[in-house]
Symmetry: C2
Subunit: 197 residues, 2 copies
Amino acid sequence: MSRALEFWFEFASTYSHVAAQRIEAAAERAGVPLVWRVFLLGPIFQRQGWNDSPFNLYPAKGAYMWRDMERLCAKHAIPFRRPSRFPRNGLLAARVALAAEREPWIGRFVRAVYLGNFAEDADIADPKRVRGWLEAAGCPRPDSLLERAGSGEIKDRLRARTDDAIARGIFGAPTFVVGGELFWGNDRMEDALAWRS
Amino acid sequence: MSRALEFWFEFASTYSHVAAQRIEAAAERAGVPLVWRVFLLGPIFQRQGWNDSPFNLYPAKGAYMWRDMERLCAKHAIPFRRPSRFPRNGLLAARVALAAEREPWIGRFVRAVYLGNFAEDADIADPKRVRGWLEAAGCPRPDSLLERAGSGEIKDRLRARTDDAIARGIFGAPTFVVGGELFWGNDRMEDALAWRS
């Protein structure tokens, strides 16, 4: 039995969109159990002295990233449209994903939020939108899940999750973790899934 | 006939080592003419407000990179040892590479400098070392090439080259350029070689 692969993602992250659309099917093909690990990049970037996405702070890097995303999504047949706002506030979606992390429909929900952000130019902070994605994903009680997502317990767990990311040396998204081994970026998904030693 | 691929590299860059060891054989296999384009990242980083490598400025990113380099070089069977100094001063080697860019032995020289930096922990700013790598690469007159590398003409051309990198939107190394299309990072080499439209 293969060791589990943890998929650490942040809803505002462009390359996490590409990875999120691919990871569930790829892990299944590889026979690797998948563990969803939503977290927030904002507090990590702030510790690095950034008050915005590095793609906004460094314009050449940002211009490249948007073009690279177009090519990459075309290559993988993943829907993509550059959003009118970047980065979007993914806090609500992250709390919901944390509350639902072990549900069998979590993959469908995560993919729907990313498609909202990076293909449909939707406001992922809008509770009505999030509720719709929950319903479409197969969540049996969207309203009670949304309520739980706003609880102190989930807020605390999301803060602890992000502290855990920092403690493990995570500095960007997506990051794959296998055993103690970190793999950063959608480009490393295949290496992470194949990691054995 | 395929369009040429420009390989933009900086001798202090870790991931350029991986790309430099692979690019000549990969371009040959793909039937893509290869154009060597040495440049300096220092002035580009300074414009972004960095006075050191981002791998030193952001320790989590740096710790990850060194581990990633170990895994990546093992995967590609490329010699690698973490150097005792990083980043090393690649100015002399860059001037020499610029003076020799169209020589048939340029690939051997570039690979030797990278192996010096990232496998042998050698000082790539040492003229004796650089002379040795020139000789081993097949340069017929290493002394006159070293003299030319120190000329005002080459110094000016290296400055213009780095300005050209900035004008094209290059912000890191390695970068591959095909037509007007930029591909950043060793991970994008295959996509760059396959780029057609």
